[in-house]
């Protein structure tokens, strides 16, 4: 029933999408129940950067048709405080920890990987090369050549599995996945949110014709949830066909049927993001149902 992922043994194939579950905040809200009933087979932390980030001004959320647009802006306490304050808390979780990091240069990424390498609490690192909410100039994840180059430059710093979280906002995601594989990634994960925007509604449902006022404090954001699932499934299928390393599939997964579709097109694991906002224990249910109906996931 367990599943092997980059040499890590997981109890089932359902993890969380980075930035969509905060285990420490969940402990404040739910107490120890969260450790006893932890829904994910591994915990992926929210993107950490070298320096602390405040994130974008509010509002940060807009509800779309069958989806959610967020413009969170990667708020985080920075690497140092993450390691000092959060790691001890996260080490108490009953599942392996995957730390998600982002840097805008190879040097920054190398420092992040070095720091993670030194911490036994961290089982693997997910490198976010795709977040559309943050102005890093160009997304390295969207350019296969740049991506491969950066990965080659930093890969040696980490003696643990490296997952590259691809950006969906690119011309050919399978080319990017191949570049990640060539650059030394042990797995890829996708999809991150699709670049999207929403406008401030003027007096209720009327929108004036004047220059439009963006709703989100960050100007624009990323679309997640059910609306993006067909796009996610296509990208995961294309990537799984092209590379040999395992794939973590996500994007709009709401139930076991959806999870099975992602596994069916070649994902090794699936991640649940937005749906956890609607139902925080949905991952447990998905894992149970995957298991009941179809037995061992080694079938996949």
């Amino acid at each position: 029933m367990s599943v092997e992922f980059c040499g890590i043994e997981l109890a089932h194939p359902v993890i969380n999408g980075s930035g969509t579950f905060d285990a420490i905040a969940a402990r404040r809200a739910f107490g120890n129940a969260i450790d006893e009933e932890f829904p994910f087979a591994a915990f992926v932390s929210k993107t950490i950067t070298l320096a602390p980030r405040a994130g974008n001004p509010p509002p940060r959320l807009w509800e779309a048709q069958a989806g959610l647009i967020n413009s969170i802006g990667l708020p985080n306490k920075g690497l140092e405080r993450y390691i000092a304050e959060d790691l001890p808390e996260l080490a108490r979780l009953p599942v392996p920890l995957i730390t998600n990091v982002m840097g805008s240069t190879a040097e920054e990424i190398a420092s992040l990987l070095q720091a993670c390498d030194a911490r036994p609490e961290i089982a693997a690192v997910e490198l976010n090369v795709s977040c559309p909410n943050v102005q890093t100039g160009l997304d390295i994840g969207a350019d296969p050549l740049a991506l491969e180059r950066v990965l080659r430059a930093v890969r040696a710093e980490l003696h643990k599995p490296l997952i590259v979280k691809l950006t969906p906002n690119c011309a050919d995601v399978s080319a990017c996945a191949l570049a990640a594989q060539k650059g030394g990634a042990d797995a890829v994960s996708l999809i991150n949110t699709l670049r999207a925007t929403a406008l401030t509604p003027a007096d209720g449902h009327k929108q004036t014709l004047g220059p439009a006022d963006p709703w989100l404090g960050g100007g624009s954001g990323g679309l997640s949830g059910a609306a993006i699932r067909p796009v996610a499934l296509a990208q995961v299928a294309a990537v799984a066909k092209r590379i040999a390393i395992p794939v973590v599939g996500m994007g709009g997964i709401q139930n076991a049927l959806h999870a099975r579709q992602f596994l069916g097109v070649g994902a090794r694991l699936v991640a649940v993001g937005t749906e956890s906002f609607r139902n925080p224990s949905i991952a447990t249910r998905i894992a149970t149902e995957l298991d009941c109906v179809h037995g061992p996931h080694s079938l996949v």
Binding site: G19, T20, F21, D22, I24, A25, A26, R28, A29, F30, G31, A33, I34, E37, K46, A54, G55, P57, P58, P59, R60, L61, E63, A64, Q65, A66, G67, L68, N70, I72, P75, G217, G225, A226, T274, S276, F277, R278, N279, P280, S281, T284
Partner: protein, 294 residues
């Protein structure tokens, strides 16, 4: 349930949403009071909230919203029944306002940080605006209204109970239809924008008068951000401690999405885990653009 000693300000939620059954949906002027049986749910602390979603047709409104659940303060919790005061402002509240007895209601809660007890000896001022009166009602239940309660009469334990704090309730509404919501609290002094009931003008004008009379008070306020900002400023000028129950657009309610932030002196706070009740001293101003409907 009236208890004389306020409980902890944060009661933990069971992990996972619960399917409740709606027991009543009552009209209260421009509002609705939605009641649902929550026999297995913990009793919330005053000021806490829950994330609610209809079990059916959530994702079915205009433009196929609502999609994520919506936050509502507990307005009362009595004999395993949770009460919520609702104002129809969009597709989510509209759908919840439609629910009838027997319908299913998903609830995650209680969530967030509730009101903290007043400093001994200080008078309590509850200041509410519009649907923001909801958490003040359950807080009044907890603190005791300062009036004899019928169920107190039946108490047989002979421990002396501390005097309930002196309390004044100031509530402001748009018009007479909304004023009817005031029935949720006892002994309220009223203000209305159109002067149809009580003081013509803002509830913060009533607060100002109160504080001018005597600043030895703790203020508990909930309402639109502009009202809360006025409360904050009035109290700050006079060094009066104030606890504000804030609102922000939310997706999760349990700290997962980082979507519900408001600025504070120490950076952004997540209203759902750091609040909704926040000490006014922590705020430089009350954010008016955090995605809440008012």
């Amino acid at each position: 349930m009236t208890t004389d000693v306020p409980g902890p300000a944060r009661v933990l939620a069971p992990f996972g949403r619960r399917l409740l059954t709606v027991t009543a949906n009552e009209t209260l002027g421009a509002y609705r009071v939605l009641k649902a049986a929550d026999p297995s749910g913990p009793e919330p602390a005053a000021g806490q909230f829950a994330m609610l979603a209809a079990a059916e047709r959530w994702g079915a409104g205009e433009d196929e919203r609502p999609y994520v659940p919506r936050a509502f303060s507990y307005a009362r919790f009595k004999d395993g029944e949770a009460h919520f005061l609702l104002e129809d402002v969009g597709p989510g509240t509209r759908r919840l306002c439609e629910l009838g007895e027997g319908d299913g209601l998903w609830l995650l809660g209680p969530l967030g940080q509730g009101f903290a007890a007043p400093e001994q000896g200080r008078r309590v001022l509850l200041v509410g605006g519009g649907v923001g009166i909801a958490p003040l009602a359950i807080w009044q239940d907890e603190l005791g209204a300062g009036e004899p309660h019928s169920d107190d009469a039946s108490r047989t334990d002979d421990e002396p109970h501390p005097e309930p704090p002196r309390m004044k309730v100031l509530l402001g509404f748009r018009d007479s239809a909304h004023v009817e919501g005031a029935a949720l609290l006892e002994n309220a002094v009223l203000a209305s924008d159109d002067g149809s009931v009580g003081h013509r003008g803002r509830v913060t004008e009533l607060l100002c008068d109160e504080l001018d009379r005597d600043t030895h008070a703790t203020v508990y306020a909930c309402g639109p951000p502009r009202m809360l900002e006025a409360v904050r400023a009035l109290c700050a000028e006079r060094d009066v401690p104030a606890q504000l129950a804030l609102e922000a657009g939310m997706a999760c309610g349990f700290g997962a999405c980082y979507g519900c932030v408001v600025p504070s002196r120490s950076g952004y706070l997540r209203v759902c885990v750091d609040g909704p009740v926040i000490d006014a001293a922590e705020l430089e101003h009350v954010e008016t653009h955090a995605g809440s409907p008012r």
